[in-house]
Amino acid sequence: MFYREAGDFKTSYTEDNQTFPIKFDRYRYYAVLVFAFAVVPFVINDYWVNAVFLPFLIYAIAAIGLNILVGYCGQVSLGTGGFMAVGAYAVYKLMTSFPDVSMFIHVILAGVITAVVGVLFGLPSLRIKGFYLAVATLAAQFFLVWLFNRVPWFYNYSASGQISAPERTVLGVPITGAETAPWAAYLFCLVFVTVCAIIARNLTRGMAGRKWMAIRDMDIAAEIIGVNPLKAKLTAFAVSSFFVGISGALFFSVYLGAVEVGEVFGINKSFLVLFMVIIGGLGSIFGSFAGAAFLVLLPVLLKNTLVGGLGWPTDLAAHLEFIIVGALIIIFLIAEPHGLAQLWRVTKEKLRLWPFPH
């Protein structure tokens, strides 16, 4: 009915190749953007920002980053937590060393630093593949966490080894620290998410993304048709780590404000982001958002219904939460092994034919 190509004529290649070729989809996308940028900042409060939006947006960036590496380039990584830690500590060192520089620049620089570290740890991927690469990145995870715990320079020699974000601004508006207005923190992260998602989407549709996918599908064949595996794998590591670094920087500076590396960026974080990518859908930008939403928002929603709505004891609710989320993950993956993104794709196909499926 409303969701179809018919009657939507394209007169140029650019139009034909756009991300959302269907008119309805395109307008829906604009509507979401307008809503997120122009409506949400006016209505949110501390709770919504700190418990719902910030974790969702920041995890979405991390999931996009990991999706590029795992979903598009086929290199399994368990080092996400470690790379997020690199981003966090990089932004901490930058914001304490150069207090007057805008946070935008600090966060982007933190991403660049993480990209360099990511390339270093990506070098073994040229020789080792699959599960073995996963183990190599696992080493990165443990090494990085150990490093940030061990070398006092990284945490400015504070007595406890914690890093805390002092107040820093963008155009005079505080973005980190306790005085941050909810809308400021939200918009800051939203800008990063939007830009990251657009960059990632366009990278994966372009030559770089095709090379990554060729490597993912069969690296020998890719090499024969002229894809340089060194370049392809390392660019995937670099781009992925760049996004993961940005998310780590935001996670520390905007969301938590104080971080202890072993607890926040431990191996659990690596698995959490990997699960987001798998549940959301490998090789899909939308899937990264869906996976992040699923694993961040569902526990909060369950907690609020069980404890806030029904008044159950907190420990009972916490245990039930594990059971329900776990069961849902299994159900979703049985129903659709390719993740939530594939469910969405199937829905779109059905919508195109609706209401006359034959």
Partner: protein, 426 residues
């Protein structure tokens, strides 16, 4: 099981439903996760104390107490969520029982003007009330604890420990790293040799650390552990036949959970404490009459009298007393978090007060002031009696080495003030 769950659920709904009380206290507890064994008794003690006040006295000066519990799982992200979700309910004071969450909340509560009480944990330099206006850590902090342990060792050795070897086994996190600086300063003063042995979260794997202890044979081992790490350490110490009376844990390494698994071997293990232990108090008779016998205990109700239950009770008692102080100061019974802050800042715990509450000699006497949010740093040493399965205080409350600690606190809080652009003042 289903029926039990359903009854529990209904009971909880009934309990939560009519709570239209005026004084709200938040309990950021953890009854799940790797630290649950320690989180449960503390949370139970904290809640039971307020339940007793409600049942026996009708609340605090006639204002019923409402407890909002939120499960953090000792996880900082959930801690943020819990803080934001309970903040709106007008919670008077936060006690997260986690150093990580405390660090996160320090700037937040200050900007929201809600007091935070990190009793025996958190950021030590928060003792300096000139910089940390809304943070309180009375009656004692980690650096006091480090000094207590060293003072105790000095007492045993007749005041001279130069050349002795002391090892610190610590949880490799903000919490565990806290005492290092103090112990190093004390080493300069008393001339002992300090060895640092970090243990990574959660602490189940400590073989190499204890192998090192066996090899280097330190005279004393101090421990900064939490959760499962404590039990493993005590068991490992037993395994290498380390003399238990030379093994001293901080107060967070001194609960029944930590020593019971090691059985008789744990006999003689020492732990610091800043409150009294056991259940031999007139208060417990009231607790039995109004809370236990009426089935209103929090959790399973099987933690009464344990070290951490008493600590939860003590935390609740200090909060309730601060609320009373605030009510007196402001001449109103319905206090706000800002008034509660004033109450905490003017809190004075005396022996007479504690005796009137039915808890004589339960904690040290101290007085909070605007400059000093941390009390006077009194603590005691307890020893585990494996045969009787109980902790006994073997010393009186004694003061930590203020001469060493005061400059350290001034230095650390000044660094925080500079980093965050705070002008110290009272």
């Amino acid at each position: 099981m289903k029926l039990k769950l359903a009854t529990a659920a209904i009971a909880a709904v009934m309990a939560a439903g009519p709570a239209l009380a005026d004084l709200t206290f938040s309990a950021l507890s953890y009854r799940t996760g790797p630290y649950a064994a320690n989180g449960i008794p503390f949370a139970d003690g904290y809640i039971d104390y307020f339940t007793l006040l409600n049942e026996r006295d009708g609340g605090i000066n006639g204002e019923k107490v409402n407890i909002v519990e939120c499960e953090t799982g000792y996880n900082t992200e959930k801690g943020v969520e819990c803080y934001e979700s309970t903040k709106g309910s007008g919670a008077l004071v936060y006690q997260p029982l986690s150093t990580g969450i405390t660090y996160q909340l320090i700037p937040k509560v200050t900007s929201d003007n809600i007091p935070l009480h990190s009793m025996g944990y958190g950021r030590t330099s928060a003792k300096n009330g000139k910089v940390f206006t809304n943070i309180f850590n009375y009656p004692a902090n980690y650096w006091d604890g480090a000094s207590h342990a060293v003072t105790h060792i000095l007492d045993i050795n007749g005041g001279d420990i130069s050349g002795k070897k002391i090892a610190l086994v610590y949880h490799n996190s903000a919490y565990g790293k806290e005492p290092i600086r103090t112990l190093e300063e004390l080493a300069k003063k008393h001339g002992y040799e300090l060895t640092l042995l970090p243990v990574d979260h959660p602490g189940q794997e400590q073989k190499s650390q204890w192998l090192q202890i066996r090899r280097e044979k330190p005279d004393y081992v101090l421990m900064w552990g939490w959760g499962v790490m404590n039990q493993v350490a005590v068991q490992e110490a037993v395994n290498i036949r380390f003399p238990m009376e030379n093994f001293i844990g901080i107060w967070w390494s001194g609960s029944e959970n930590d020593v019971l698994p090691a059985g008789d071997g744990a006999n003689g293990y020492k732990a610091l404490t800043f409150h009294n232990l056991g259940s031999d108090y007139p208060f417990y008779a009231d607790l039995k009459k109004y809370v236990v016998d009426t089935g209103k205990t929090a959790g399973a109700g099987d933690q009464l009298g344990t070290a951490l239950y008493n600590r939860g009770m003590y935390a609740a008692m200090l909060a309730a007393e601060a609320a009373k102080t605030a009510q007196d100061m402001h001449g109103t019974t319905a206090i706000t978090p800002a008034m509660m802050r004033d109450g905490m800042e003017n809190l004075e715990m005396t022996e007479a007060k504690m005796a009137a509450l039915g808890l004589p000699k339960f904690g040290p006497e101290f007085k909070v002031s605007c400059e000093n949010h941390g009390g006077d740093g009194f603590g005691a040493v307890a020893q585990w009696d494996a045969a009787a399965k109980e902790w006994n205080l073997i010393t009186d409350y004694f003061q930590s080495d203020q001469e060493i600690l005061a400059p350290l606190i001034a230095e650390d809080s000044a660094a925080y003030a500079a980093e965050n652009g705070i002008t110290p003042g009272c």
